[in-house]
């Protein structure tokens, strides 16, 4: 499928030309892989390149591209040799990607990536400031990462904040990744008989079982970790005074109505009862659960359970 967006095609074309300028020749398949295009699209774009150049667009002024036996030979004019300046968006995503990688506990702070980022930062805005990224460093991250790297089965003791329960599970690690600042272990759980995601900072203990994992799995992790509506999630509607606005800034809210009284009516998906309990406790005495009816007393119940600890 040819890309319809001319801006995107133009961007890729200039990039391809600069990439080719740094090489004497390249295979069509190699270019296709580098630029995530089909070989047909690469060939089509290269034909277009060969019609570009400077006035009067005579053969000596056109960009010289030859495709022989799936090998591309191109003589790129000087003015397309050097990389283009980055847009703010480009520069931000590059620096952020690099700084994130460097924020991983144990990353080499003076290695090639650190040097590349210093050069990039220098070329953009100056040596100091710019972009900084900090990630959590939970105690057992190393153990979990090692098990994932070596594909070793482990037993973990894990606290689920959503269910407010501690459980011990046998898992086959698939990947370890960070989402929005928190570390997660994606693993096949033998007790649940499916792939689950565990917060690494809620893992209490990691013990290798010495057994090989059942079978290797491919990571299914693509977007952000978000509670999918299902068995463990609930859609609730609450009404709270204006002080509760932080909820809308911290959680994905499905609907927000600002009532005439100044109060907020918020509908959001919560994963697990414990999540809702914490939310209600923090919102305080004036919060009302409108829906579902079964959760109307959730706040009072949660408060009473905690109070029981103080009457012992």
């Amino acid at each position: 499928m040819p890309d319809r967006d001319p801006g995107l095609r133009f961007r890729r074309l200039l990039a391809m030309v600069t990439w080719l300028a740094a090489r004497e020749n390249a295979k069509l398949s190699e270019i296709a892989e580098q630029f995530a295009m089909t070989e047909e699209d690469v060939e089509r774009d290269l034909m277009l390149v060969s019609m570009c150049g400077l006035p009067p667009y005579s053969p000596d002024q056109l960009i010289d591209v030859l495709i022989i036996d799936d090998v591309v030979e191109a003589r790129i004019p000087e003015y397309f040799h050097r990389p283009r300046q980055l847009t703010a968006n480009d520069a931000l995503s590059l620096l952020t990607a690099g700084r994130t990688q460097l924020a991983v506990p144990g990353a080499d702070q003076s290695g090639p990536l650190a040097r590349a980022l210093d050069k990039l930062s220098d070329a953009l805005g100056g040596a100091s400031g710019g972009v900084a990224v900090e990630l959590d460093a939970p105690l057992l991250l190393d153990d979990v990462q090692r098990a994932a790297d070596r594909v070793e089965q482990i037993e973990i003791t894990h606290y689920s904040a959503a269910r407010d329960a501690i459980s011990t599970r046998t898992v086959d690690p698939i990947s370890v990744f960070n989402d929005a600042g928190h570390w997660y272990l994606e693993a096949f759980c033998h007790q649940a008989d499916k792939v689950l995601t565990f917060r690494v900072d809620r893992i209490e203990r990691v013990t290798p079982t010495g057994k090989a994992p059942a079978r290797p799995k491919k990571s299914q992790q693509k977007g952000h970790v978000q509670p999918a509506p299902g068995a463990d999630t609930d859609t609730v509607t609450i009404t709270v005074g204006p002080h509760g606005r932080w909820v809308t800034e911290n959680y994905p809210v499905e609907q927000l109505d600002e009532l005439k009284s100044g109060k907020l009516r918020i509908t959001l998906t919560v994963s697990g009862e414990a999540f809702l309990d914490r939310l209600l406790l923090r919102l305080g005495p004036d919060v009302v659960v409108n829906r579902p009816a079964a959760k109307k007393d959730a706040l009072a119940q949660a408060a009473k359970r905690i109070l029981a600890r103080y009457s012992e």
Binding site: P6, L54, A132, L139, G181, R278, L299
Partner: protein, 305 residues
């Protein structure tokens, strides 16, 4: 004529021209435009828009006859030489493959550097906020950023943007307050940031430690005057989570059953209660009596007693 072909030719022409060229000169050389008049101008305007959206710095030079001429300043078009070594290139490539910012994969940025992009294991996904790119752009251009924060107009000399604990912050010198300030980017009103003129902001101070100005976590309360020292018992099983939240240095006692006692210095009882609620009925504040009484009184109110 293919639009992409025309755009490429315009870039080549305006990069190499020795003097700014008028619309008619460009159209006559490059071709593919309608005959003179309004439709030619409209077609050129569309091309200009695409070029600018793609980051091509098209300059307009006013002519003595009142018309406009165009050129591309090579200094603005090209990235200053980075001189990356091969291992630096590979490292940057891997980082981009592993990190995703709300769908933006950084691939386009690598393409511009004249790199292809390879696939790699996914490492991290970071959210973005409206206004973040503009704030970063202000740092890069040494321009001031203007925005409204909780209803108050701000003028900021941007020193950098920083991510911690799931949020983006912007740091800089607040011209109105005459002081260094930190803002949460997601709290900027409507996510609207205006970027002022290039080069008019005070540069980031040399040696400025961007990560160092980030706030502690909400429960990591900073030492200040008016501190209250509180002791909290955390049940076994929840102890590891508490240590990850706070840090080992807060633990004062470990018991055989796996439970722990932590010591915190709090500046705000509201903030402390909010933190402790996170543990539901698996943690108990044991001292001082005033803080215990305050916590219990709030719980009684919530319980509807």
């Amino acid at each position: 004529m293919d639009k992409v072909e025309r755009l490429t030719n315009i870039v080549a022409l305006l990069l190499t021209t020795t003097r700014p060229l008028t619309l008619d000169e460009i159209a006559d050389e490059v071709g593919g435009y309608p005959e003179k008049g309004e439709s030619r101008r409209a077609a050129f305007e569309r091309d200009k828009k695409t070029l600018r959206a793609e980051g091509v710095p098209l300059e307009v030079v006013a002519q003595s006859d009142g018309g406009s001429a165009y050129r591309i300043d090579p200094n603005a078009y090209y990235l200053p030489p980075l001189d990356l070594t091969d291992d630096e290139r590979v490292a940057l490539n891997l980082a981009v493959a592993g990190v995703n910012m709300d769908g933006d994969t950084g691939r386009d940025a690598l393409y511009k550097l004249g790199e292809g992009a390879t696939d790699g294991p996914r490492l991290a996904a970071l959210p973005t906020d409206d206004g973040l790119i503009d704030l970063f752009d202000a740092w890069r251009r040494r321009a001031r950023a203007f925005f409204s924060y909780r209803g108050e107009r701000r003028e900021l000399h941007v020193w950098g943007v920083a991510f911690r604990n799931g949020r983006w912050y912007v740091s800089g010198h607040d011209a109105g307050k005459q002081h260094e300030r930190l803002f949460r980017v997601d709290r900027i009103d409507n996510g609207e940031v205006a970027v002022g003129e290039d080069g008019t902001a005070t540069p980031t101070p040399a040696g400025f430690d961007l990560a160092g100005v980030l706030p502690g976590r909400q429960f990591n309360m900073y030492p200040q005057d008016d501190l209250e020292e509180v002791l909290v018992d955390v049940d076994a099983g929840w102890a590891r989570g508490a240590i990850n939240d706070l840090g080992e240095e807060f633990v004062t006692e470990r018991r055989d059953d796996g439970s722990i006692r932590v010591r915190l210095h709090i500046t705000s009882r509201d903030g402390f209660r909010s933190w402790l609620y996170g543990y539901l009925d698996h943690a108990v504040v044991v001292s001082p009596p005033e803080v215990v009484a305050d916590y219990v009184a709030h719980l009684k109110e919530l319980a509807g007693a």
